[in-house]
């Protein structure tokens, strides 16, 4: 049986029907279906005499109001960060305590000073632990986002922003991928598929990384906890808003110069409001949050072990001083009554710290850091931050993981102080503090804007099917991050901050 016969018949039928209806066949068919539905609807449904405004409509009158819409959206976002930051303090304390305890316990299982002890205590517990600590804050943020989504508010947010997006030359549909990007940029970039027009789609993909994903949260949380404990929620909010602002500015520029052309119109559906169910919200939160835990157990663990290795080897470098002999001398001084016990302890601790620092500087990582430092110094960052940012390319949490490992290795004292306190204490060789509130804020800005993680770059490649766009995204975000951070840091110093 020749199937061409079928297609011939189809062609004939379509032409025949077009002649009869003076319209495309598919249009007529769709009309008939709606006719059928209408018939059923009339027979099965009795409508009220007067249509009342539903509760949903009443809420929408306020929420979608031309004047109030955007302020309400901004307020709800602020509230979300405020709640997240305030409520997560307590559980984060528990995780921190548990981790210190674990570090001390595990340390005892291995011979003191062995490479293995260092790997477990400094590399794994110090590195991965510093990331795990932020699990409560991430779950809480996802919890709040799930409530906004399940209640139907997020669709309103998209609607409210649509008007605004159009003004800046972006498609209303671009807003949903942006909101998804707040969880993780990868689904955000993938969601751009719903945008039909290629130029709108590419623009949205390219600016999506500015939506601050959950992986960047640990970096902010660490720095805010250490330097702005009072203003946590507001500061966090301002970083997210900065990301959104940068996305808008860049989108505008891309649409104007890279992909010029008009924006397609778009009709958006507004589902009725719904009371979110606890079960639904928890499932949503869990689905997203668990990805973070999985990442901590795999890529971040591997990253931290790598950083630990690079930071510890060569294991016994050539030191500038013979530390062992100097320590021995200090002990002999005590024995011969030249100094007191306290003085001896102090000089031995000093020697050990100095040795640890020198070891780190002579490690592979120290060398890498020295290469990076000139680039990041104008932003107020030292080589450790530079190395952390370098590692952040694998996954943004690794910025924190790397600092955790570096500081655990670099300090010789027994008790493991939280990373937060260690960075507060760290100084430049001239004794000035490395981390001022200004540096901390600059670091947050840089982390927000610079290169998307490896996975995001991979997805951009897959979604655009060429290396041109991922490479472009990596390049322009990093350049932009550097410029904005430079302005923030140097500008801040000029007006006397930090």
């Amino acid at each position: 049986m020749d199937r061409r016969e079928i297609l011939d018949q189809v062609r004939k039928s379509r032409e025949h029907l077009r002649g009869i209806f003076d319209d495309e066949v598919e249009t007529v068919i769709v009309d008939r279906r709606y006719g059928f539905i209408n018939g059923i609807y009339r027979r099965a449904v009795s409508r009220p005499a007067i249509e009342r405004l539903s509760a949903s409509d009443q809420i929408d009158r306020i929420v979608l109001n031309r004047v109030l819409g955007i302020p309400i959206f901004l307020f709800l976002m602020w509230l979300m960060f405020k709640i997240t930051f305030t409520l997560s303090e307590v559980p984060m304390g528990w995780v921190e305590t548990g981790q210190e305890w674990l570090g001390n316990i595990c340390g005892r299982f291995f011979p003191e000073g062995s490479a293995f002890q260092s790997l477990v205590v400094d590399g794994i517990i110090g590195g991965v632990g510093s990331v795990i600590i932020f699990v409560p804050i991430i779950f809480l943020l996802f919890f709040c986002m799930a409530i906004l989504e399940d209640s139907g508010y997020m669709a309103r947010a998209a609607f409210v922003m649509d008007r605004f997006m159009h003004k800046i030359g972006l498609h209303g549909r671009s807003f949903i991928p942006m909101i998804l990007g707040l969880g993780c940029n990868i689904p955000g970039i993938m969601a751009c598929r719903t945008i039909d027009q290629e130029r709108d789609r590419l623009t949205t993909i390219l600016v999506n990384p500015f939506m601050s994903c959950g992986a960047r949260l640990p970096v902010y949380a660490l720095l805010i906890g250490a330097f702005f404990p009072e203003k946590g929620g507001t500061l966090l909010y301002s970083i997210y808003i900065l990301g959104i602002a940068m996305a808008i500015i860049m989108a505008r520029i891309f649409r104007k110069y890279l992909f010029p052309g008009p924006t397609a119109p778009f009709v958006m559906e507004l589902p009725p409001y719904r009371m979110p169910t606890i079960k639904g919200v928890i499932i949503h939160m869990w689905e997203r949050g668990v990805l973070y835990l999985k990442k901590a157990g795999t890529i971040i663990l591997a990253g931290c072990v790598l950083v630990w290795f690079l930071g510890n080897f060569p294991w016994s470098p050539e030191y500038s001083k013979d530390y062992d002999r100097l320590k021995q001398e200090a002990r002999l001084d005590l024995a011969s009554g030249l100094i007191m016990k306290e003085a001896m302890d102090e000089s031995i601790t000093n020697l050990e710290n100095e040795q640890a620092r020198e070891k780190m500087e002579k490690s592979y990582l120290g060398h890498l850091g020295r290469i990076i430092e000139p680039v990041v110094k104008p932003l107020g960052f030292d080589w450790k931050i530079g190395v952390g940012l370098f590692g952040g390319f694998i996954a943004k949490e690794i910025v924190v993981g790397t600092l955790g490992t570096l500081y655990a290795v670099g300090e010789a004292d027994e008790e493991s102080a939280p990373l937060r306190e260690r960075i507060q204490r760290d100084t430049w060789p001239d004794g000035k503090k490395i981390y001022t509130p200004l540096t901390a804020f600059t670091l947050m800005v840089f982390t927000l804007l610079y290169i998307p993680c490896v996975a995001a770059i991979g997805v951009i490649y897959r979604e655009t099917n060429s290396w041109k766009w991922p490479l472009f995204a990596a390049g322009y975000t990093t350049a932009l991050a550097w410029i904005v951070s430079f302005i923030v840091y140097q500008g801040g110093r000029l007006i006397g901050l930090g």
């Binding site: 018949q9 379509r14 008939r32 249509e51 509760a55």
Partner: protein, 226 residues
Amino acid sequence: MVRKITIALAGNPNSGKTTIFNNLTGARQHVGNWPGVTVEKKEGSLRFKDYEIKVVDLPGTYSLTAYSLDEVVARNFVVEERPDVVVDIVDASNLERNLYLTTQFMELGVNLVIVLNMSDRAEESGHKIDTKKLSELLGVPVIPTIGYKNRGMDELLQAIVDVAEGKFDGGHVTLSYGEEIEEEIRKIEELIQRDAGLMQRYSSRWMAIKLLEGDEEVTKKVTGEK
């Protein structure tokens, strides 16, 4: 004896499909990707009486055309994997628009159960839906549920099992496209029915309508292109 049933959950976006899926499967969910594409695929399972029911959550769509990836994924699953029952979740407060997808499933000739979700909301706004009448007119079981209150799930499961066992007979309701179009559908159907290869997998009426609509995917199936 435990019988295995596979059901597919379909429905418009925002019809409360996810809530029903969560109610049915609870924590026994598995998230993956549809083969070959990056559309998310959710599966879960549950026990009901003597049945082991596998639930596949289709992407939320308004229709089953070949225009968007989501619709193609949903359609291909139903056409090619042939679930025992398709559960079409309909937002009761938005009945007219939601029924469009329902007509698409009716045309495919699948075993259908309609869930009239959020039936409380429709009533609040003063719309009284006569479920029995609706079921009669469509020729498929219609189960009112309130997803967020977890209401109506047992009735739904019972209906699924009944339909899977062939215990529901609603007569066969066909959406008629009017004399002129029906005439052409018949002509095309006749030719399709002579082709054993095509008849094996698809309903001839559905295929004929899709061809008339100029559906690219179905046209490719006929020409044998991949």
